[in-house]
Subunit: 407 residues, 2 copies
Amino acid sequence: MALIVQKYGGTSVGTIERIRNVAAKVAKYRAEGHELVVVLSAMSGVTNKLVEMAHELQKEPSPREMDVLLSTGEQTTIALLCMALESIGIPSRSYTGNQVRILTDSAFTKARIVSIDDANIRSDLSQGRVVVVAGFQGVDDAGNITTLGRGGSDTTAVALAAALKADECQIYTDVDGVYTTDPRVVPEARRLDRITFEEMLEMASLGSKVLQIRSVEFAGKYNVPLRVLSSFEDGPGTLIVSEEDTKMENPVISGIAFTKNETKLSVRGVPDVPGMAFKVFGPISDANIEVDVIVQNVGINKTNDITFTVQRTDTDKATRILENVAKDIGAEKVEVDNKVAKISLVGVGMRSHAGIASKMFEALAAESINIQLITTSEIKISVVIEEKYLELAVRALHAAFGLKDPS
Amino acid sequence: MALIVQKYGGTSVGTIERIRNVAAKVAKYRAEGHELVVVLSAMSGVTNKLVEMAHELQKEPSPREMDVLLSTGEQTTIALLCMALESIGIPSRSYTGNQVRILTDSAFTKARIVSIDDANIRSDLSQGRVVVVAGFQGVDDAGNITTLGRGGSDTTAVALAAALKADECQIYTDVDGVYTTDPRVVPEARRLDRITFEEMLEMASLGSKVLQIRSVEFAGKYNVPLRVLSSFEDGPGTLIVSEEDTKMENPVISGIAFTKNETKLSVRGVPDVPGMAFKVFGPISDANIEVDVIVQNVGINKTNDITFTVQRTDTDKATRILENVAKDIGAEKVEVDNKVAKISLVGVGMRSHAGIASKMFEALAAESINIQLITTSEIKISVVIEEKYLELAVRALHAAFGLKDPS
């Protein structure tokens, strides 16, 4: 008998019929003798609709009231799931964040969990009940309702698993696990049985959006075994564990992440004096534009070229800002290329293996794909290429590193 | 400067635009220097939709979970109103039942208020905030969410007004006050400036569904001045006060209430022995059929005739039950007339005036309207007549008692 925390996302509880399916899944685990705590998101679409209403009323809605509003979404689904469970004879009880009580700081709309009182949950579990908890929400010291920000339900699940010292935290999504790369691009992509927290973080932040980054960090910090699986089909999913728990030798490369829809911006001929990088990125950051890859090269005549990528939707805004900046600092010109993509190889095994980069460059060269930018971290190598070559490049790398065969 | 509790119902907050109108109304009172506590219902239609979802999942939904579910409706509107208020520069703060805290018993779906903690509200008022409270909901001793049953938001408003010793409790609805009778039937019907709690109770229970009966009882008990007014047009509405506070002589008749869609059922020839009434009404009540007027007449041959009315939708069910009962107790036969209506004259002044009944019967006789049943209470006379004469009868009585002219 194990204590399992399960989290079901918005699509998994998106209709009455799907809520019934979740109840059936919970029933199956319970029949195997497990104790269950179930964390739910709002029905898909509901949160967006509430946000829309708020923005109709107030340009920048009061954060406190936004949290009062948004927390109703999860409160709805927990009640409905309990009804579904009881209709098939399974005793259950729902808890809002306040009822648990999940204490957070008072940073409305992006609160952080401070502590979790597990007394109520433990008491219900010991009485044989399934406990159903509203994800995404908590309460501050003064009794105000707070929410944890987008994807916060994953964080709720992991935090509960940590507080309850659960044997496993299962995150149910609409995919059946983490893949070596996107199967829509590489049909031979393989579901990974295991991946480390570090690798998962790199994969997640690079567009393989299976799990909320914060929840992976949290799970890594408290060493909560995290499993990603499908709520629509059976299967073992992918277990995310700490590096020490991967008892075999780690594969060199675990997966290939990529992002389309990026724009590359270059400021050419930036004077080579201190403070220039700040003068470029300060206004970009002030405009709430997220910057991805940043590369600075030495240019000619004691000037530098500063190049970086942003999401394509920010292209116009970023270009306007940069053109003003370029004038200000006496840079030569701004170049914009909105047809680029980024590919990253991720793997903790990379640390102990030389030659990964050259093998990557070789594979791309063999397909005549030009590399525009390169950045590296300890467990990742990223390149920016022309967007039209993206699929070809991913397939070439997937083959070159033998990812379709279990290592 | 007065402390005013205002309650807006589901239609008054049914759209974003209407929520904005409520904010404007609140702003107007605040500009006059009043302190305001606003109680809201769920957006019209929302509660029904939630109930539907619950019934799709569970035949008899868990009452505890039902309350978790339903309370989201009011939580949504309080957040939205606060956003609307802040968007026009009015500081405000929303409170759920739990946050106030409105302590109730644990009778889920029909809880009773035990006590109200007014500390948070008073503190906000003293800081110049408008306080917005979710109607219809509370919390029990164990921290479970409870609801007060249909129309419970009126009760929340009155209870808050009592706890805060508010100067007035204003109930905003889609009518502009309480009328001498339904203006759709009698165009000369007049809005009453004042009515007593007792009269309002009789009017409300007789189909003039402006206020929830429980809230009127509550207001009477704690002597909370209650005003019914329209949320869509300006006007003084109708003030509901205790009899002692009506400083003039009371009018003999305040209003004429009526209900259509009733069915009259008679059990003829019931043996004149003890226990017969129980044998007739026990099974009716077990079937959750609400009985209105009951009259028992002495029949012939030591038998009685028992006659009563039910809502027309219960006709078939009640008839089937009565036919079995009649066989059981050896009654002669069951007669069903599903084309009757009930009219009642209501007025506290009736107590000190003789001749009201005869004047009523005279007015009906002048129109050749036959009276089928008569019942009376201290401040009410009711008659059951053939349904097709209903409008004629109401108009005749309205004229006979001079209700169109302020008394």
